[in-house]
């Protein structure tokens, strides 16, 4: 079937990119200054023998391309190496940190979509009216403000001044309430939301603003489309035109943008997790950078790159699913 073949095709297309990601990270990571072995042994008196042993253990004595091939071999078997600094498998660390990051990014997207689409539509239909101007200004501020500063301001206002919401950390809904000492699942759910709210808005604002701008433009364009004129000429109610005829077409670019923006969102997650002290991949990345834990850095970069590629594939497939033109390869 078309869609299946399309999916397979997209996955195949992604392979060189994924390989590229590993090459880039590998090269960058091996520019690493200092000696990872010494860093690992911080402050211990060791002789050359020990250093040589560790170098052998991590294969540090071999030429770069050999190390790369070995590394790739391991990666293909799901082994992203070992965090020298934390003395744990990189995959274990990532598995543990992926949950909060995904939760953060997905909720930010949910927030962005839930606000951007209605606002974009309203702005498009009330074009050049005050509503439109206000929402355009909001969007403009949204794309012009650093997400971390939004986070800081939100904390200043809602956590510090008003004391309504917590300023740091997340509560994970997949844990049992007992682990937090909560009375039950309702409190767990309540606390999950309470903790998620500020970081979600901080990370989601930029997405919201970009999506809103796109939504507005697309809706305006779509509403000027001949098919909308046609629908109007055949007496289709304005509401149906908006919700069905114009909307469906306008959503197509939104889907693409969502995929591509995943890159900004994942980058933003680093800052958001830092500002809100969330134990996600972003913070793990900062810690890894701080300690020059290069296997961990490579692992994270590869995983984030893969997340992005997978995200784009998923959006491409949804696009193909919604836009009949793509499945059959006639996308113009």
């Amino acid at each position: 079937m078309g869609l299946l073949r399309y999916t397979a095709g997209r996955v195949v297309q992604a392979i060189p990119v994924l390989i590229g990601i590993t090459v880039i990270t590998f090269i960058l990571a091996n520019l690493a200054p200092g000696d990872p072995v010494r860093l690992m042994l911080q402050g211990q008196e060791v002789n050359q023998e020990v250093i040589a042993r560790i170098e052998r253990q991590y294969g540090l004595h071999r030429p770069l391309h050999e190390r790369y091939l070995t590394y790739m071999g391991n990666v293909l078997q799901g082994d992203l190496g070992h965090s020298i600094h934390r003395d744990r498998p990189v995959t274990a660390l990532l598995a543990q940190r992926a949950g909060p990051t995904l939760m953060l990014v997905l909720s930010a997207y949910a927030f962005a979509l839930a606000t951007a689409i209605p606002l974009g539509i309203i702005a498009a239909t009330r074009r050049n009216e005050p509503t439109d101007h206000v929402s355009r200004i909001v969007a403009l501020i949204g794309v012009s403000t650093p997400s971390f500063w939004i986070g800081i301001v939100l904390i200043l206002i809602f956590a510090i001044q008003l004391g309504w919401l917590p300023s740091s950390g997340l509560v994970y809904p997949w844990r049992s309430p007992d682990q937090y000492g909560y009375s039950g699942y309702p409190e767990l759910a309540y606390q999950t939301i309470r903790h998620l709210l500020l970081p979600m808005i901080a990370l989601g604002t930029l997405q919201m603003a970009t999506l809103m701008r796109v939504e507005r433009t697309q809706m305006i364009e779509s509403l000027q489309g001949e098919y909308v004129k046609l629908a109007r000429a055949y007496g289709v109610p304005e509401r149906t035109i908006l919700r069905k005829h114009a909307f469906q077409v306008a959503q197509l670019p939104i889907i693409t943008i969502i995929g591509l923006n995943l890159s900004t969102a994942l980058g933003g997650a680093v800052l958001t997790e830092y500002v809100f002290n969330i134990n996600g991949i972003g913070r793990l990345f900062l810690e890894a950078i701080q300690s020059l834990d290069y296997q961990l850095i490579m692992g994270i970069t590869i995983v984030i790159g893969t997340m992005f590629v997978v995200g784009v594939i998923i959006t491409d497939i949804s696009y193909a699913y919604i836009d009949p033109r793509v499945t059959y390869g006639e996308h113009d």
Binding site: P146, W149, I155, I289
Partner: protein, 332 residues
Amino acid sequence: MALGEAQTDESHGPSEDVEAEYGWRYTFSKVMEDTTARWGLYVVALVLLVSTYTFIDSNLSQLTFGAFSDFTFAETLPIFDHPERIPPPGEGEENMPPAFHADGSLSNPLGTDPSGRDYFTRIVYGAQVSVSVGIVSTLIGFVGGTIIGAVSGFYGGRVDDALMRMVETVYAIPPLILIIVFTVFVSGGSPDITYAILGVGITFIPVFARIIRSEVLSVREMDYIEAAKASGVKNRNIIRRHVIPNSFAPVLVYATLQIGVTILIVAGLSFLGYGAQPPTPDWGQMLNTSHGYMHSNVWLSIWPGLAILVTIMGFNLFGDGLQDALDPRIND
């Protein structure tokens, strides 16, 4: 007709120049007609002016007159202090609130930082870093991207495929993450603003390459290129004389908007400690420092954020206006 023109064309025809000039002037007047774009331009102009002033002050005047102990322009203007000098023991007051606060003083309109330096001066001097970062790294991306994009789009085929795969790969890693890895590793663990600029510039090469490429693809099909090819003009010359100039306008718009994005990313970078280093007055770096004073001195976190917001908004408004002027389809 097209053929004849191309054959004689060593420097592109005079009529073209006139048209281009007319185009620029026309575009500019269109931008000035648009109220929001005009304000954007004012902000951009102000920021540029301030940066130029501070650049001259902190670099040239020192060359001429020597630093600190001797003449600087800043000292001739009583509103400015030295942006980096910490007041000697017994002078100055740390963490003073802004002037409108009861404990504030007009001599420090925005208060002082934890080292007792005048915050207003630091904010003003911060423009220089942000702007030079924005412009220089955008320029790097612009030039690099133009070369790669033009080559890729013009030759097509395998060259294009290979270059575009590379571009996609770089695209797949969130810029912030890639830039941090680049900056930290290439700098040998002591990141500073130079590496950040370089990192941002290189990371954005693919973004520009993509746009240039698609422009080139459309320009490539134009008659005069065909004609030039047919008449045996060297490829390199075709790219330089025809392809690049004709793909220029949309990329210029993009570059303007990109300056905003760049400032945003470098602010994030400095905020995390991988961009400008203290005591350099840089907005992102100041937010890093002020993060520790969120509870004791909120103002420190407010001003740099506002400065970033206003600057980026200026570039965005101006860029939007430029875009509208060049492509009035959406926003008339």
